[in-house]
Symmetry: C2
Subunit: 212 residues, 2 copies
């Protein structure tokens, strides 16, 4: 599939770009700045031995793709979704977004509505699927890392949800699990501040979750 | 330690009674009905070969113990906490409570405030610690089960929290982790409806969580 990683220049974008390219997908790295998108795409492509990874501005990436991942920081998510509303029309859009805030030395879930539902309200002509919130981005971006993580996936369109679950499960070490409709997304998103607090307070390495 | 399992006649109570007795603690099973407490204590005691497990009404169990676990169904939790407010004065009280509701075929987190904070507001002269929400009770009650679960623990009193973490970590297969103050409890409690949805939708066996 033709997959856009919007704002895909961070670690989650990098991990997805490389790992999805490695299982045969065509990857477009998007950024607000074209040069950055191109240079990051070039970097990722080198790491996976010349596979199909290109870079362009977010809007072009959104238009060209079949499915887009919102691999952007939470602070820019709403603004980016508004800007790309038309470019993303009719597409599947995956939200790994978490309304995470720091309050003192604590990580808190700073919203009454889930990020996925907020984004879905803006992208009303796209199909929003919520996934990948609990992936430790730094480890995920390192191809030498071994992991075994579960990925709860929420969405209201069963076919789109299955497609995204299938895509995620193609990545070695990830097991996508149906976590219900988009209205369940807060349950999944709020695992991220929980993990952040737990790893910081107990001095653990970056971690994902597994149901076992 | 002298440990009361208030309403400890269900599977979580059974698992805690047997597993804490096995590591040397004195267990009191509490119930609203004395005969039920006594017969359940008898049953658990037989399963662990005659260790120190007795049964009595909740109020006596609360008075006699050093630390109490609120192993009661959520529907009765607030009422039970109110009734035992004086008996639990000065004690450490562990809340594994989750405001879980079913809405159609979905499990939802049905509260704006965490169960632990609600209970702490009632038990204002006790030290409430929040833990054990994600333990799959049926598996935990079966001594043949093997598991490797993490147990996030929240609380505002650092000493009491450490004591509870230590107690939990004495049970083989459980790793207690500091998850911050009681105000973080909702993050932990809401993992339970997430797990319930995931195991039902994906036809998985009962599961706990692990950060890895």
């Amino acid at each position: 599939m033709k997959i856009a990683l919007l704002g895909g220049t961070g670690n989650l974008g990098k991990g997805l770009a490389m790992r999805l390219a490695l299982v045969g997908h065509e990857i477009i790295v998007g950024s607000r700045r074209e040069e950055k998108a191109i240079s990051k795409a070039e970097e990722y492509r080198r790491e996976v031995g010349g596979l199909d990874i290109s870079g362009m501005v977010n809007e072009d990436a959104a238009k060209k793709c079949e499915i887009a991942f919102l691999t952007i920081p939470w602070e820019h998510a709403v603004e980016t979704a508004r800007m790309l509303r038309y470019a993303l029309r009719g597409k599947i859009v995956v939200s790994p977004l978490v309304p995470l805030k720091k309050s003192g030395d604590l990580f808190v879930y700073a919203s009454d509505t889930s990020a996925a539902e907020m984004v879905a309200a803006i992208l009303e002509n796209s199909t929003v699927i919520s996934a990948l919130h609990t992936i430790p981005a730094r480890r995920f971006a390192d191809l030498n890392e071994k992991f075994d993580w579960d990925v709860p996936v929420c969405g209201d369109d069963e076919n789109a949800k299955k497609l995204v679950m299938n895509l995620i499960s193609q990545i070695d070490g990830l097991r996508a699990l149906d976590a219900g409709p988009l209205s369940n997304s807060r349950l999944v998103e709020s695992v991220t501040p929980l993990i952040m607090n737990v790893i910081h307070k107990n001095r653990l390495p970056e971690a994902g979750i597994k149901f076992l």
